[in-house]
């Protein structure tokens, strides 16, 4: 066999010649990584199938919750049902009782279940509010709807009638559901009594989820999307370097450590791009409300995922064994989750913990995603640049560590 011509000249010559061959090797390493990834079916399933499946699961869970469980309410009416003529100060009964019409609307709404009605006008039931509050404390109702004193009178004369809502706020995440349900009853009431334009229905509060979207699903998505994108990218990359046994042998070829690591970063970044695309597709198909742009959301999620890949690769690079990598992953993951603001708001933490929390990637996940989903903000901002900074530092550290690491066959 004649000596190969290729290896005589490939590594000599100019800087550009060496760079050319270095790039060639990186491309071939990328191909190898894809071949290994293709064979590792479990990793592919986790990377590409699991995130959309989780979104679907959440969508199903949230949808069924809002459709099948109406909010239990009690209605207290202080409506006097009388009309005082301002010219002669005579009091007459109104020609139309809007309280009973609103009660009809409550009964008609699929989102509300009327448990009790209290007529508190004319001191007929002076302890109505106290009784209703006790019912709410006992968990028999979730919401008290209060009809104001001059409800009928105001509506009859073309002014907006006032309905107060007292929700059970012990479950903060469910308040929006209650608000939506009551708004549904008002919508029915307004439409059936032709009150428009006298009665202006504001469909949603500023930055809240529009009532036609599933609040519970969208609320969860602001937490789930960053958590899942970061977490899955992180867990997928922690073993990438440490479990590849032939790396020391590859280093007995002209291949460089940096080329091997770079190829892994490229491959996992490509997988991440696909993963984020699938996640977003499934999330949108299931009714994700995005006040901002989809591109912004995609790039923000990609950045979060990339921070996960960078941290995973760093752990994989510094670890000497798979066990060590798994232990480091667990320690980091617990810390990141606990300090992410999911359990305790970061601003409520002691100063020193806030400093640590803001240094960790996931703490910037919910704000950036919430900003795009609810407020229509751009992905560009402090959180994005912080994530970019963390990722850059981790990448540089990974390259430094792998270049200093001793590999021996």
């Amino acid at each position: 066999m004649a000596k190969s011509k290729t290896n005589d000249n490939w590594n000599s010559g100019t800087f550009f010649n060496r760079l050319r061959y270095s790039l060639w090797r990186v491309v071939r390493q990328i191909k190898k990584e894809f071949q290994l990834l293709k064979i590792d079916k479990m990793n592919l399933v986790i990377a590409l199938m699991m995130p959309p499946a989780i979104i679907m699961l959440f969508a199903f869970m949230s949808t069924s919750a809002s459709v099948t469980i109406p909010v239990k309410v009690s209605v207290i009416s202080y409506d006097s049902n009388t009309y005082v003529n301002q010219n002669n100060y005579t009091e007459t009964t109104t020609w139309d009782n809007y309280t009973s019409k609103y009660l009809d609307a409550v009964k008609e709404s699929e989102l509300l279940e009327l448990i009790e009605f209290y007529d508190a006008s004319e001191s007929e039931d002076e302890y109505a509010m106290e009784t209703a509050r006790n019912e709410m404390r006992d968990g028999n109702i979730e919401c008290i709807i209060v009809i104001s004193v001059e409800f009928t009178e105001l509506l009859s004369t073309g002014y907006p009638g006032i309905i107060e809502l007292i929700p059970d706020s012990s479950d903060a995440a469910a308040i929006q559901d209650k608000l939506n349900a009551v708004q549904d009853s008002i919508k029915i009431f307004v439409e059936e009594n032709d009150l428009d334009p006298e009665y202006v229905l504001q469909e949603y509060e500023e930055f809240s989820i529009p009532s036609k979207y599933n609040f519970r699903y969208n609320y969860n998505m602001t937490i789930l999307l960053p958590f899942m994108t970061f977490g899955i990218s992180f867990v997928l990359s922690i073993l990438v370097v440490v479990q590849e046994k032939p790396i020391p042998r590859l280093l007995l070829t002209p291949a460089q450590k940096s080329e091997i690591l770079l190829s892994k970063f490229i491959v996992y970044s490509i997988v991440l791009a696909l993963q984020v695309f699938l996640v977003l597709t499934v999330a949108i198909a299931n009714g994700l409300y995005i006040a901002g742009s989809v591109i912004d959301l995609y790039l923000a999620l990609y950045m979060l995922g990339f921070a996960g890949v960078s941290l995973g690769m760093f752990i994989s690079t510094v670890s000497n064994t798979k066990t060590e990598a798994n232990q480091l992953f667990f320690a980091f993951f617990i810390l990141i989750i606990l300090l992410s603001g999911m359990f305790v708001p970061i601003d409520a933490m002691p100063d020193y913990l806030q400093t640590i929390a803001y240094m960790l990637p996931l703490s910037h996940g919910a704000p950036i995603i919430k900003g795009i989903l609810s407020k229509g903000k751009s992905f560009i901002g402090f959180d994005f640049f912080w994530l970019l900074g963390i990722s850059s530092v981790l990448i540089i550290l990974s390259f430094l560590v792998i270049n200093r690491k001793r590999y021996e066959v």
Binding site: S4, N7, N11, R25, R28, K32, T253, V409
Partner: protein, 345 residues
């Protein structure tokens, strides 16, 4: 093996010393290797075989070693030479899992490693097919995942990968370890076949004395020192009486009886090696003349000889004797040092 001139020298090592954490691992080692030779590095664990090979394969930084070392006329002391040296050498690790991606096929594995040398897929495939044929790797396994192959087949694929870029030198770390007794000879004969067909210089790092069967020159190392570096035949003929041995089966053989034999007056240079429970091999000067006298001496001293045969020593015996000799020298030096210390006190 051709004797050749200086141009044929592919590895030159002069006064190599390797130090880790102020501990000297390799002491003043010098040797050179000619193109096409098969060199065996023999020694017990910790002798320094692997350390020397790691210097030659650019795995140990220059700050840990001194001396003049050249591999294919390039010094592994300069990082600038690493890529060129690594493109001129191949390496077959002891464990196949360190050399192979078990989930990929043999041809895909070849492709991965060949690409590191800048080789194109087609070129790599052609060379791989030629090597697979020489190594009798069944064609129906070339496109199946490596994990489905037998241990012997994996070992051969590993060898093929070491040779895929047609290196000048191939380093093999314990090539017969983990291979069952019958297959060990197969591995060795494949290596000899590759050496003949490709002319590749080979370094075998091994505990397996049977590997001496195929080496052109053997290096014996102990405690970082190169005790011998010569051909098998030269080493054996350097033994008393060209390596002729008498093998005795002696009833209830023990250390006391061996010491009696060592005191045989007619051959002061007598060497003994216990090779079995009741079996002892003896080498001595003037073998033919002294053999009958030795038997008589043994009988006079109450040793009961159950059987006796004669043979020429194998490399294994030379290795054992050489290591024993070195241990004896060190023991005497220690006794002398202890005596000097006692006098000083």
């Amino acid at each position: 093996m051709s004797t050749g001139n200086l141009k044929d020298i592919v590895v030159n090592v002069e006064n190599l010393e390797v130090t880790f954490d102020e501990k000297k691992i390799i002491r003043n080692v010098s040797f050179n290797v000619r193109r096409g030779e098969i060199i065996g590095f023999f020694g017990i664990s910790g002798a320094g075989k692997t350390t020397i090979i790691r210097v030659l394969t650019c795995q140990i930084s220059k700050k840990n070693w001194t001396g003049n070392v050249n591999v294919t006329n390039l010094s592994p002391g300069s990082k600038k030479n690493y890529a060129k040296i690594l493109s001129n050498i191949g390496y077959v690790p002891q464990l196949e899992e360190l050399n192979l991606y078990y989930d990929l096929t043999p041809l895909k594995n070849v492709e991965v490693f060949a690409s590191c040398y800048g080789m194109k897929k087609k070129e790599a495939k052609n060379i791989a097919m030629e090597l697979f044929s020489i190594l009798d790797i069944p064609e129906d396994t070339w496109n199946k995942p490596l994990k489905k192959m037998s241990g012997g087949e994996k070992k051969r694929v590993s060898m093929a990968i070491g040779l895929i870029h047609k290196p000048d030198i191939l380093f093999l770390d314990e090539p017969t370890t983990g291979v069952d007794a019958a297959k060990r000879y197969d591995v060795l004969s494949y290596l000899k076949k590759l050496n003949r067909r490709l002319g590749t210089t080979m370094f075998l790092i091994t505990h397996d004395m049977e590997a001496a069967l195929i080496v052109d020159r053997a290096a014996i190392l102990r405690d970082g020192k190169l005790l011998e570096f010569d051909s098998n035949s030269n080493l054996i003929t350097s033994l008393p009486n060209n390596g002729l041995v008498a093998r005795f089966s002696i009833e209830n053989l023990n250390e006391e009886k061996i010491n009696i034999i060592k005191r045989f007056p007619n051959a002061p240079n007598i060497k003994t090696i216990r090779v079995g429970n009741e079996t002892l091999e003896v080498l001595m000067d003037d073998f033919e003349k002294n053999l009958s006298k030795l038997i008589q001496f043994m009988m006079e001293n109450g040793l009961k000889i159950n059987a006796m045969s004669r043979d020429v020593a194998a490399f294994r015996r030379y290795f054992q004797l050489r290591i024993q000799e070195e241990e004896e020298k060190e023991r005497l030096i220690r006794i002398q040092q202890d005596a000097i210390e006692e006098v000083e006190i």
